[in-house]
């Protein structure tokens, strides 16, 4: 029995900010203080507040330490663990009340509006210990399914709950299972899509790192529902911590008899294998993913036949995303009624978003469907740092679109996002402020899809490339208004004719920025001006004569020596030689240098 539990985030975010060293230092210090038997150190998954990492939470007090460094550890040990005095200077300030008392983490702005279903164990349990998962009702849902329910009952529960796929498309999960279950008995497969490729998205990784057993349990439930005995998790090789923890979890589940033959003595057999993805974005597309598991080059194939009919090795297969699976055990345990209360009419439950870009609380949040973008950005996300103003948010990564400030009060669910030309996608949410050029951001995403296009179909291979070239022309100031119309037409051609989801959605960033920020495109074309001051070809730096005091600091810092002038006299920039690096603007202490 330990009198205190210290939870330290071992997710990828906090690991990269040094949580491993903190754990090692803490274990050493505790040993030296003779406290190793009294205080338990637990490496957990992601708490969500990655911006404040490394994170350490001490129970029973519930003290939430943020941005901990190894140098802080001796103080935490001698003050907190030996003398019982909380080190207030390290506490997350929002958890400290005016009288100095610690308030619950759930009351902070970041957590207040969140509802954690898929992430309920992340940052709470030790993901490398199956017993901690079991303590929090782990494998109870599997037990219930195997002993009390028929396969058709399980599917009915999912249909009634209204769970939709969290990987992007939002297809009803119960329907998918129903199709696969209806196929004649024989070899069938359950596949988990953990090939999370959207730039800026990391919810699947965090679930696998923080709560791998929930995915295993849900896959076994799926196996029972459709009559499959084999599961495959296709996970990115770029997620080493997730892969390691998942393998540990699978091994522990096998040892405990929760995977393997005759689970709970019911005669049901199920086992899971891991396949590593080799870093191609297109392999997140379900048919390409299956082709990749089969050992071929990851290229999509036409549907139909759908995987539910002829999937992995030509056998009936269901493919669900990690987050979708993570919702299933809670639904089985707590019931349809409970789940249906959460969310909107046609989108039930919650959605996990990875907040990134120009936002204070970078991290992972889970909110009920129907929460508005304003609540996510301004309340949970803590707004834009440095006094910037919100311009737009990109959802769905390179397949999605942007949501402008005027639509911030749109409740976020599958259908409302579709209606405004974006999509839920897997849940990356990139916030942009006034310093982001919308043409440039569309070009960035197009560059990504051009790079990741597998090349099998022409619209995607050549179409996206041509689209990229047109965008490049715009950012160079060489495009005409005619190009804009051509671009739009090409977008629709690609959408209608590409083979798989990658190509069909690739033009979305262009279409949505054209829809909401057409004026920026026009400014680039007609005025040869980039309103956000990003596109280098359209920029020039100027010195304001009335502000320049002739300190010469700009001239001394210019890497190409294009600034001239005498001391105490206003300087001048030779724009024919300027490389627009911005070094002079950064160094000027008088705000005398502006870009236009």
């Amino acid at each position: 029995m330990y009198r205190s539990h210290v939870l330290i985030c071992g997710g990828t975010g906090c690991t990269s900010s040094g949580s491993e060293r903190i754990i090692n230092t803490l274990e050493k210090e505790l040993k030296e203080a003779g406290l190793a038997e009294e205080i338990k150190v637990i490496r957990t998954g992601c708490f969500g507040l990655c911006a404040l990492g490394p994170i350490m939470v001490v129970y029973p007090e519930g003290a939430f330490y943020s941005m901990v460094t190894p140098e802080d550890i001796p103080e935490i040990v001698s003050e907190h663990f030996v003398k019982g005095r909380i080190v207030t200077r390290l506490l997350y300030q929002e958890t400290v009340a005016e009288d100095g008392a610690i308030t619950s983490l759930d009351d902070t702005n970041f957590y207040k509006k969140q509802l954690r279903i898929a992430l309920h164990n992340c940052g709470v349990i030790n993901p490398e210990n199956i017993n901690e998962y079991i303590a929090y009702d782990g494998y109870q849902a599997l037990g219930k399914v195997l002993t009390e329910m028929k396969p058709a009952d399980v599917i009915k529960v999912l249909l009634d709950a209204g769970l939709r796929g969290r990987g992007g498309g939002g297809f009803p999960t119960g329907k998918k299972w129903e199709f696969a279950a209806a196929q004649p008995a024989g070899q069938k497969y359950v596949v988990c899509n953990a090939d999370e490729g959207d730039p800026g998205a990391f919810m699947d990784r965090s679930i696998l790192e923080g709560d791998p057993h929930v995915v295993i349990e849900a896959m076994a439930i799926a196996g029972y529902a459709i009559g499959a005995d084999t599961g495959v998790v296709y996970v990115r090789a770029e997620y080493p911590i997730a892969v390691k923890r998942l393998q540990i979890a699978i091994d522990q589940a096998r040892e405990a008899g929760l995977l393997g033959k005759d689970i709970f003595g019911t005669g049901f057999n199920f086992d899971i294998h891991i396949r590593l993805g080799a870093g191609a974005f297109v392999c997140g597309e379900e048919t390409a993913l299956l082709t990749s598991i089969e050992g071929h080059r990851g290229e999509p194939r036409p549907r139909p036949p759908y995987p539910a009919v002829a999937g992995l090795f030509g056998k009936p297969t269901i493919i669900n995303n990690v987050e979708t699976f993570a919702n299933i055990p809670p639904i089985i345990r707590k019931g349809v009624e409970w789940y249906r209360q959460i969310g909107t009419e046609r989108s039930k439950g919650t959605k996990v978003f990875a907040l990134g870009g120009k936002i204070s609380n970078t991290g992972l949040v889970e909110v009920p469907m129907g929460t508005t973008l304003r609540e996510i950005v301004e309340e949970i996300g803590g707004g834009i740092p440095g006094g910037g103003t919100f311009k737009a948010a990109q959802t769905g990564g390179p397949s999605g679109g942007c949501i402008p400030a005027s639509l911030m009060d749109t409740p976020i669910d599958y259908d409302s996002l579709m209606a405004i030309g974006s999509m839920m996608g897997s849940g990356g949410l990139i916030v942009m402020d006034q310093t982001t050029c919308m043409v440039d951001i569309a070009k960035f995403f197009l560059e990504f899809t051009v790079d990741e296009s597998c090349g099998k179909c022409v619209p995607c291979r050549i179409g996206t490339k041509r689209l990229y070239e047109m965008l490049d022309k715009v950012t160079q100031g060489k495009a005409t208004m005619e190009d804009l119309d051509k671009m739009e037409a090409l977008c629709y051609h690609i959408k209608e004719s590409a083979l798989c989801g990658l190509g069909q959605t690739a033009p979305n960033p262009v279409l949505s920025t054209l829809r909401y920020f057409r004026d920026e495109y026009v400014a680039h074309i007609e005025e040869k001006r980039c309103p956000a001051g990003v596109c280098k070809a359209l920029l020039s730096y100027h010195i304001l004569e009335d502000k320049c005091i002739g300190c010469t600091i700009c001239a001394r810092n210019c890497p190409v020596g294009c600034i001239s002038g005498t001391v105490k006299q206003p300087h001048k920039i030779d724009n024919t030689a300027c490389i627009k690096c911005g070094a002079c603007e950064e160094k000027c202490r008088f705000g005398a240098i502006v870009k236009r």
């Binding site: 029995m1 330990y2 009198r3 205190s4 539990h5 939870l7 003779g34 038997e37 009294e38 129970y59 029973p60 007090e61 519930g62 030996v82 003398k83 019982g84 005095r85 619950s104 983490l105 759930d106 709470v124 017993n131 901690e132 079991i134 303590a135 929090y136 009702d137 782990g138 494998y139 109870q140 037990g143 002993t147 405990a256 008899g257 929760l258 709970f264 003595g265």
Partner: protein
């Protein structure tokens, strides 16, 4: 694991060990004085005895925490017990042997062990 009953037994056992990891306040707090005076007088074995006893009885709603010097160093080890709706009870000159009785009588059954409290001092 061959049956659901086994899984449930394991869950109950593990829950008892993880009860302190809760967001809501635990109802009973046992506060052990762990300043230099307390430690010198033997507070550490007392604290260990409390955690052992609570684990043995699977009390999930009790927190054992330490504090600094309460100011009555001559009566260390000092242990204060806070229970909802009751006045704080201060036990003095505690030993590991006395712990089992405090847990059984006071924490579980609600009867203060008056003879160990500060009020019983002559």
């Amino acid at each position: 694991m061959k049956s659901l009953a086994e899984l449930q037994a394991l869950r109950d056992k593990m829950q008892a060990q993880m009860g302190i990891r809760r967001e809501e306040e635990l109802s009973t707090r046992i506060v052990v004085g762990m300043a230099t005076c307390g430690i010198a007088a033997g507070a550490r074995p007392v604290l260990a005895a409390f955690t052992d006893e609570i684990s043995k009885r699977r009390l999930t709603d009790v927190a054992v925490v330490q504090t600094g010097c309460v100011g009555i160093c001559q009566y260390e080890p000092v242990v204060e017990v806070y229970r909802p709706g009751e006045e704080k009870v201060t036990y003095v000159k505690m030993t590991a042997d006395k712990v089992a009785r405090v847990v059984a009588d006071h924490i579980v059954n609600g009867n203060v062990v008056t003879e160990f409290t500060i009020g019983a001092l002559k």
